[in-house]
């Protein structure tokens, strides 16, 4: 099954951010650079975070925009930004952001894979501390064919 919502060029390992807002800014910037969203989507990501935290546990947050900001999404795309030093997210420390831009539901499989990884704390640790994009892709089920090869 082809899931191109998360690709190697959308994975940034070893990033640093002083705080949550800076981390979200980097996630948003990456989505803009990838051509997945228009500029105003980034502001919506900050706005969404203030409504309710996107911290999901196991050192992972899933920043995304608001329902109103869907109009700024050009294509459904996920991006991963890793912060090895951690970012204070209020409810916990975040080491990995999975940023979401969704116009449809093509990304559901990757999020389902993410939720399975997070329920297994060993796998979650591997994901948080990944040192190459291939590890992230294999855990989030994006390159099943290669994983089986």
């Amino acid at each position: 099954m082809s899931t191109d919502t998360l690709t190697a060029d959308a994975i940034r390992l070893g990033a640093t951010a002083a705080d949550r807002a800076e981390a979200i800014e980097q996630c948003g910037r990456l989505l803009v650079d990838l051509g997945a969203v228009d500029e105003p989507y980034v502001a919506a990501m900050h706005e969404r975070e203030q409504v309710v935290s996107t911290f999901v546990g196991e050192g992972v947050a899933i920043p995304h925009g608001t329902n109103e900001a869907r109009k700024y999404v050009r294509r459904t795309q996920l991006a991963v930004v890793q912060f090895p030093d951690g970012v204070d997210w209020g409810a916990g420390t975040v080491h990995l952001c999975v940023a979401i831009a969704a116009s449809g539901s093509e990304h559901v499989e990757v999020l389902a894979a993410l939720s399975k990884v997070l329920m297994d704390s060993d796998k979650a640790a591997v994901l948080r501390s990944a040192t190459d994009a291939a590890t992230v892709l294999s855990l989030l089920g994006n390159d099943q064919q290669e994983a089986h090869a």
Binding site: V51, V52, T54, G57, S115, M119
Partner: protein, 102 residues
């Protein structure tokens, strides 16, 4: 505190602000844990909760918005995505057909 007969739950809707991230993840987790009991789990933006939802789940901070949108629906709030006790409570109530407090 009201109660809901858990045996009447056929469809659980997980609502979040945008319906593109948090609720998608949680709906994925819950649909596998509730599948054995023929309970459907769907995700939606909080302002588009479908009429046929028997129970709405959303983050605590969104409960009042969910209730404003659907005043007649039972709404359960949760604070943690992973391992919030409310998910266990829901699964047990559905499994045993008991009363669910909300």
């Amino acid at each position: 505190m009201s109660t809901l007969d858990a045996s009447t739950i056929k469809k659980v809707v997980v609502a979040c602000d945008a319906g593109m991230g948090s609720s998608v993840m949680l709906a994925g987790q819950l649909s596998s844990s509730l599948a054995p009991y023929s309970v459907k789990v769907q995700h939606s933006p909080v302002n588009q909760i479908p009429d046929d939802a028997d129970l709405v789940l959303c983050q605590q901070g969104l409960v009042s918005r969910a209730k404003a949108v659907k005043p007649d629906k039972p709404v359960l709030g949760f604070t943690m995505f992973l391992g919030d006790p409310v998910f266990d409570k829901l699964q047990k109530a559905i499994r045993d057909g008991g009363q669910l407090e909300y």
